[in-house]
């Protein structure tokens, strides 16, 4: 059963208005993210860097470091949250998350293996390997989780995902230890961080993520029906196999694209859909766009917090999401899941 109860049924106008508000909040946190950093740069300088660029160091920092960083956080947060929401709806598993189910680990292993065996050093090609790895891991975890009586259950799927993650990440570690060059190549990427990504890489992943987001939004109504259960959806005349396949493609595009950009970042896809569902109810036509915005806001904030907490040290954003998402996951398992 899909999880959280909802006590409010909001009207469409209210929900549309909410989307506009969320968009405003997102804009605000992006501005905050650009304003705060290791170097103190005033708001006026930031403004000037964006609109009357003069090539000074400060302008360079804003244009090549801070703006890409904020935009990467927006993209990665949005796509992971939407991927998580689609997974939760389609598998009716409140604990679904691209990180927990091993899909991000699959993408990471594929990239590391590509760098090691093919000697690929162009970040641009990362994207395709990440997609392939994500797709493979998704198929394996689904097959493992649906084995046995009662088909796919949240607990089985999640534990299978954990096992797969353990296997894939130990293989990744093995490769990294074998090959110092690969380690140096991908080390910064593997920590799950939005720092230091240039605009070129972002443009590479952008089309995939956009297609994924668009596909997810188009699937919204069908996911709502499917979240009522396979039998109900069939009874309502849905061709569930097609919807599942389309949903899987969307998840792979979004999760693969996000990992290619930022490396494995966990728990965004878990936490955000739950938070969103609490406010907007169980209709995925609304859950999906809200998840995209909320995920983006969340990751930008997590990145800012990671920069501020241990100043001048920086914590990778993956650590921040794990610190928020881990307790939430335990809460779900402890208080919300019954056998």
């Amino acid at each position: 059963m899909t999880a959280t109860s909802f006590h409010l049924t909001r009207s469409s106008p209210a929900l549309s208005l909410g989307l506009v508000v969320a968009l405003g909040v997102l804009l605000a946190v992006v501005i905050v993210s650009v304003l705060y950093g290791a170097a103190d740069i005033g708001a006026a300088t930031v403004w000037a860097a964006l609109f009357s660029y003069d090539g000074s160091t400060e302008h360079l920092i804003i244009r090549t470091l801070r703006v890409p960083r904020a935009l990467v956080a927006v993209l990665v947060g949005g796509s992971l949250a939407v991927a998580g929401a689609v997974m939760q709806g389609v598998t009716r598993n409140p604990m679904a998350d691209p990180g927990l189910l091993g899909i991000e680990a699959g993408a990471a292993l594929a990239v590391v293996a590509a760098v090691h065996f093919q000697g690929i050093s162009s970040l641009a090609v990362y994207t395709w390997f990440a997609l392939a790895g994500a797709a493979l891991a998704a198929v394996v975890v689904y097959a493992l989780g649906s084995a046995g009586r009662g088909g796919i259950t949240p607990l089985k799927l999640t534990v299978s995902g954990a096992a797969l993650t353990a296997l894939l990440s130990s293989l990744t570690t093995g490769i990294l230890l074998l090959d110092r060059r690969t380690l140096d190549e991908v080390c910064f990427w593997l920590a799950g961080s939005v720092a230091g990504r240039d605009l070129g890489l972002m443009l590479q992943a952008l089309p995939l993520i956009c297609v994924g987001l668009l596909g997810a939004l188009l699937l919204g109504r069908k996911v709502t029906t499917l979240s009522l259960g396979e039998d109900v959806a069939r009874g309502l005349g849905q061709r569930t196999a097609w919807v599942r396949a389309a949903a899987a493609l969307v998840v792979v595009l979004l999760a693969g694209g996000a990992v290619a950009l930022a490396g494995p970042v966990g728990f965004v896809g878990l936490v955000i859909p739950h938070a969103v569902r609490f406010f907007v109810g169980v209709n995925y036509r609304w859950i999906l766009p809200y998840s995209a915005l909320a995920g983006a806001i969340f990751l930008v904030l997590a990145d800012v917090a990671g920069r501020l907490i241990l100043r001048p040290q920086e914590l990778p954003v993956g650590v921040m999401t794990a610190l928020v998402g881990g307790p939430f996951f335990v809460y779900l398992v402890r208080w919300k899941v019954r056998r």
Partner: protein, 283 residues
């Protein structure tokens, strides 16, 4: 010997008192059946008698001593309990399971003696499990499995044996198999047997003493003839029933046919059927 009684026994889960201020005496050397509707406190009472549940007030007594004042091992040598639907670890053989019944007789270093060996052999013999002794418990049929667990409790060599719904999940044949075994243990070995059963006809047929509970209180206690009556059935279960007499043994047989008009039996608590809208995820 082996006399159990309670004095103002109060048992509770969290804040909800299930049994409040109960006084009850279990006759020595007899088979006693505890009956009542779901949630009436019969299993809770059994757990209280076996020291599985700490009372909020009052106490249970074995031969005049409070069971909470006795050392755990000493109590375990005098009183055995078989909980409802126990599950044996995978691959554990019947013999290994029965050997666990000797636990209260062992110390730090002396862990196996001739007496242990004999007790296990006897328990296997009485329950007819000798031929199955080498088989894993999880590979047995439901009735055989229940017999294996009873054998474990027998190897404990206690005067008193408490059993929580030993016939649940068994088919008719295996239910009778277990009940026959329990009565034989009582008749041939003189053990005091207390069991929780759902089927009133089984209670009437296989026990000497029946205690009917409702809402944590004793409604009627006595011989099957005294307890299995239309009045008690109406009050305890909220059903109208014909009471016949078994042509062979003369024990009462009940045939329920209707629900009472103004039943004071409360409906089963809805907590146990938590619906999806409560926000819980059923897996």
């Amino acid at each position: 010997m082996g006399e159990i009684c309670t004095e103002r026994l109060t048992l509770a889960y969290d804040e909800r008192a299930v049994v409040a201020g109960l006084d009850i005496v279990i006759p020595t050397g007899r088979v006693t059946a505890l009956v009542g509707p779901n949630g009436c406190g019969k299993s809770t009472l059994l757990r209280g008698l076996a020291r599985l549940l700490k009372p909020r007030g009052g106490s249970a007594y074995l031969d005049g001593r409070s069971i909470w004042r006795m050392p755990t091992r000493e109590l375990a040598r005098q009183l055995g309990i078989l909980p409802q639907a126990p599950v044996a670890p995978e691959g554990l053989t019947v013999r290994d399971l029965v050997a666990q019944g000797r636990y209260p007789y062992h110390g730090w270093l002396n862990r196996w003696s001739e007496a242990d060996e004999e007790a296990v052999a006897r328990a296997l013999d009485i329950t007819g499990m000798v031929d199955l002794a080498h088989r894993p418990v999880d590979a047995l049929s439901g009735g055989q499995r229940q017999r294996a667990w009873i054998a474990m409790a027998l190897a404990q060599e206690t005067k008193v044996l408490l059993l929580d719904e030993p016939t649940t999940y068994l088919d008719m044949h295996h239910q009778l198999e277990v009940l026959h075994l329990l009565r034989r243990l009582n008749r041939e070995e003189g053990r005091t047997v207390v069991l929780v059963v759902h089927n009133l006809n089984h209670a009437a047929r296989y026990s000497d003493h029946v205690v009917a509970l409702s809402d944590g209180k004793v409604v009627a206690a006595g011989t099957p003839q005294e307890v299995v009556t239309s009045e008690v059935l109406r009050e305890v279960f909220g059903v109208e029933a014909h009471i016949l007499s078994d042509p062979d043994t003369g024990v009462p047989l009940c045939i329920p046919y209707a629900l009472c008009e103004n039943s004071n039996v409360r409906a089963p608590s809805m907590d146990s059927f938590a619906a999806p809208h409560t926000g819980h995820i059923h897996v």
